[in-house]
C-alpha cells in the first residue's frame, strides 16, 4: 500500500461522481513499453503501470516464499543499476519501489535511457543487497488496457496517439485493481476499478472526482495518489488530489451511478508534496507514515479515521488527523512497508546519488 500525493493546499469536501463505465479490454501477450507505478495483488502478483502503452500489466512472479530476515541496503542504487544495465547513472530513473507482501522482497520499476524509448526494467533486491532482473517476458502475465480514448484521436507521424494518460498510482483491494490516471490533454483524471484476474470484457468503472472548496467552489480534481486502507471496518481509499488534502472514500461506493461525498480528514500544509504513504500497527496502535517533498516524513495517528469530521472551512495551514514529523528521515523519495516493524526507503542525496535503505518504523 502506498501513496504518492501532491498539492497539500486547501479545503473541504469532495464529491466523486461515478460517471461512466468503460470497457477495459484484456490484452494478449503483454509487452511492457514503460514501467511506472507498482503495486502487489495477493500471491506475488506484481501490478505494473505502463503509461506509454496505456495498460496495467499483472505479472505472476511466483515469489511467495518468505524472504530471509534482515535489512535490504543498497548504497549508490542508481549507480549499481546503471552498472547492471551497461550504462551511466544519469540514464537511470527508479520510478517506483514496492515490497511484495507475500515474500517481503523489494521490487523496483526502472527506466534505462532518457527519452520515450527508454527501456522498462523490473528489478528485485534481495536481503544481501543483490539486484536481479525480474524477466517479465518470461513470466505468466496478463494486461488490461486503460486507454478508452476514441479511435479518432489525433495521431503523430508514427501513428501513435498523442493523448496519453499518466498512471499516477495503483492499488489493489477486494479483487479489484485501482488505477489513478491523469490525462495529458483535458484536465481530467480517472479512478478506474478493474476486476482481477483480467477477463474478457472486464468492466472498469471510471470515476470522475470533483473537489468542493470551502463549500463554495467546485472543480474537477485529479487523483494524484492513493492507498487502500481499512477505515472503521470498511475498505477505503485514502486519496490526495493535485490540489487538496487527504480524503477518504469507502471502496463500496465505487460503483457506476453513485455520487460520493468524500471526507477530508487532514490538511498536510501547503507547498508540500506527499510522495508515498504506508500504514502500520505499532504497540497496538495504528499509524500512517507519509514521505513528503517539503515537510519531511510525517507519522499520522490513524486511530478512528472514521471519526474525523469533514474539514469544510478554510484552514490556515494544517488540521485534522494529528501527526508528528520524523526529522531523521530526509530526502525520502520512495517508501514502502516491509512488515509491521520495518519499511524500505529510497533516499536521494543533494548530489542526486540514491540509496535503498531499511528503516525501523517509528
Amino acid at each position: 500500500m502506498k501513496l504518492k500525493v501532491l498539492g497539500a493546499t486547501g479545503i473541504a469536501g469532495v464529491i466523486a461522481a461515478i460517471s461512466l463505465s468503460a470497457t477495459a479490454a484484456p490484452t494478449g501477450e503483454a509487452k511492457l513499453q514503460s514501467a511506472g507505478a507498482l503495486a502487489f495483488a495477493p500471491n506475488g502478483v506484481l501490478l505494473i503501470g505502463d503509461s506509454t502503452a496505456g495498460q496495467v500489466v499483472a505479472v505472476e512472479t511466483g515469489d511467495t516464499a518468505k524472504a530471509a530476515a534482515g535489512k535490504v541496503e543498497v548504497a549508490d542504487l542508481t549507480g549499481k543499476i546503471a552498472a547492471l544495465l551497461g550504462t551511466t547513472a544519469d540514464q537511470i530513473a527508479v520510478n517506483d519501489v514496492a515490497v511484495n507482501p507475500a515474500s517481503g522482497s523489494v521490487y523496483m520499476s526502472v527506466s534505462r535511457g532518457l527519452g520515450p524509448t527508454a527501456a522498462p526494467v523490473i528489478l528485485k533486491a534481495d536481503r544481501a543487497g543483490k539486484l536481479s532482473e525480474v524477466k517479465v517476458d518470461a513470466l505468466k502475465r496478463s494486461a488490461v488496457s486503460i486507454s478508452n480514448a476514441p479511435a479518432a484521436d489525433a495521431k503523430n507521424a508514427r501513428g501513435q496517439p498523442i493523448r496519453q494518460e499518466a498512471i499516477t498510482d495503483l492499488g489493489f483491494v477486494n479483487g479489484q485493481v485501482l488505477v489513478a490516471g491523469l490525462s495529458n490533454e483535458e484536465f481530467a483524471s480517472s479512478m478506474r476499478t478493474i476486476a482481477y484476474p483480467f477477463t474478457g470484457g472486464a468492466k472498469s468503472a471510471s470515476i470522475e472526482m470533483y473537489h468542493g472548496a470551502h463549500g463554495q467552489y467546485e472543480t474537477a480534481a485529479p487523483v494524484r495518489t492513493f492507498m487502500t486502507y481499512d477505515v472503521g471496518g470498511k475498505p477505503s481509499v485514502l486519496a490526495a488530489y493535485t490540489c487538496t488534502p487527504l480524503v477518504q472514500i469507502p471502496v463500496d461506493q465505487f460503483k457506476a451511478g453513485a455520487k460520493i461525498k468524500a471526507t477530508t480528514i487532514a490538511e498536510l500544509g501547503n507547498r508540500n508534496r506527499p510522495l508515498d504513504m504506508i500504514a502500520y500497527t505499532k504497540d497496538g496502535r495504528d499509524f500512517i507514515l507519509m514521505a513528503n517533498s517539503a515537510r519531511g516524513v510525517m507519522k499520522l495517528d490513524a486511530a478512528k479515521l472514521e471519526s474525523y469530521p469533514n474539514i469544510s472551512t478554510p484552514i490556515a495551514d494544517k488540521a485534522g488527523v494529528p501527526y508528528e514529523t520524523i526529522a531523521a528521515l530526509e530526502g525520502v523519495t520512495q517508501l514502502d512497508k516491509v512488515d509491521e516493524t520495518s519499511a524500505v526507503i529510497v533516499v536521494a542525496a543533494a548530489d542526486k546519488s540514491t540509496a535503498l535503505k531499511t528503516i525501523a518504523l517509528p
Binding site: L6, T9, C243, A316
Partner: protein, 368 residues
Amino acid sequence: MIAMLQQFRAAGGKLAARIFVSGSALLIAACGAAEPALTYSDGVVRASGWSGPAPADGWDSVLVVRASDDESAPAMLGDYVEHGGVVTFTPRFAPTPGVPLHATFHVKHSTLEATFGEPAKALAATTTVAHLYPSTDEWPENTLKMYLTFSAPMARGEAYERIRVLDDQGRAIIEPFVEIEQELWDTSGTRLTVLFDPGRIKRGLVDNEESGPPLVVGRKVTIEVDPSWRDATGAPLAETFSRVISVTQAVRDGVRPERWTVAAPQSADADLVVRFDRPLDHALAQRAISVTRDGGRLPGRVALEDDERVWRFTPDQAWAPGDYFIAVDGVLEDLAGNRPGKLFDVDTMDASQSTEATPVTAIPFKVR
C-alpha cells in the same frame, strides 16, 4: 569507426598485451590460438580457451563483465552461451558508448582481464523548443495549462527544474506548476503538458489565498526554458527559450460554440473555417471538434490558426452537397479549462453554474 582499447593481463597483474584496435573489432591472437583469449565485437564479449564441463556455479562465475570502474559494482546483466570452448556473453542491453567494460575470465588456473568499450559519442546540441502553446501573447490569469513542443524527443525527469516563470522583476515565481512525477509527455516525447498549480488557480484554496495565482492580471511574465534540459540523446538544448506573456482578466465562462462564426465551404474543394470567440486549448481544439455527416465522422485535416482562434478543416475528399454538423465534444477546453456548459471553477452558490458539461454540441451547416 570503432576504436577500442584492449588490455590483456595474466593473473598476478603482469601485462600480457595492450593493443589499440581501430576499425572493426578483430580477434586478438596475441597469446596464440590455443591459449585463452578475451575479445569484444558487436557488443558481445567472447572468452575462448575453455575446456571441460560447464562450471558448477554457472558461467558468470568464470566470466565476469563489469560496466563500471567501481569494483564493488555488480556484474552486467546478460546471457551466457558456451560453444566449442568459447563462452559468449551478450549484455542485456547494448552498452552505452563511453562505458568501459571490464571483463575477467578465470580459466586454466589463471585470470585474464581486458577492458573494452566504445568511445563516448559527441553530443550535439541541436534540439530546440519548437513552440509554446497557448500561442497568443495574452494569457488569462487563470490559464490552466501550457504545452511545450520540441524539435526532437526529450529526456524525462527534469521538466520542473528547467521551466521557470519569471515575474516582471525577473524573479522566479515559486512552484507555479503542479509537479507530476511521471511528467505529462505525448508518446513521441516531443510535447510536454504543463499544468499551472490548480491549488493556486482555484478560488478558495489555501495556496491561492496565501501565494496568490502564479499569473497576475495586468502584469507581464516570462516563460523561460533552461538550455541544460537534456534531449533523449543526452545533449542539452541548442538555446534558451523565453517568451513574454501579458496576463489578462480571468476567463470564467463556459466555452460557447453558439458564439462561433462558421464559414461553410462555398465550393467542393474549399475549407470549412470556424472562428472561436476566444483562443481554445491547442490539443483539444484539434481532437474534440469534428465534422459529421449522417452520424459518421468525415476524415480530413485540421489546422489551427490565429493563435488557436481559428479552426480550419480540409476534408480528404471534396465536399458533396448536403447537410453536415460540426460536433463539439464536451471535453473541449479554453485556456482556463472551461468546457461547453461547464466552468473549470464552479461557484456552487450560483445555481446557474452548477451544470454538467454538454456531452456534444452539434452546429449544423450546409454545403450547396
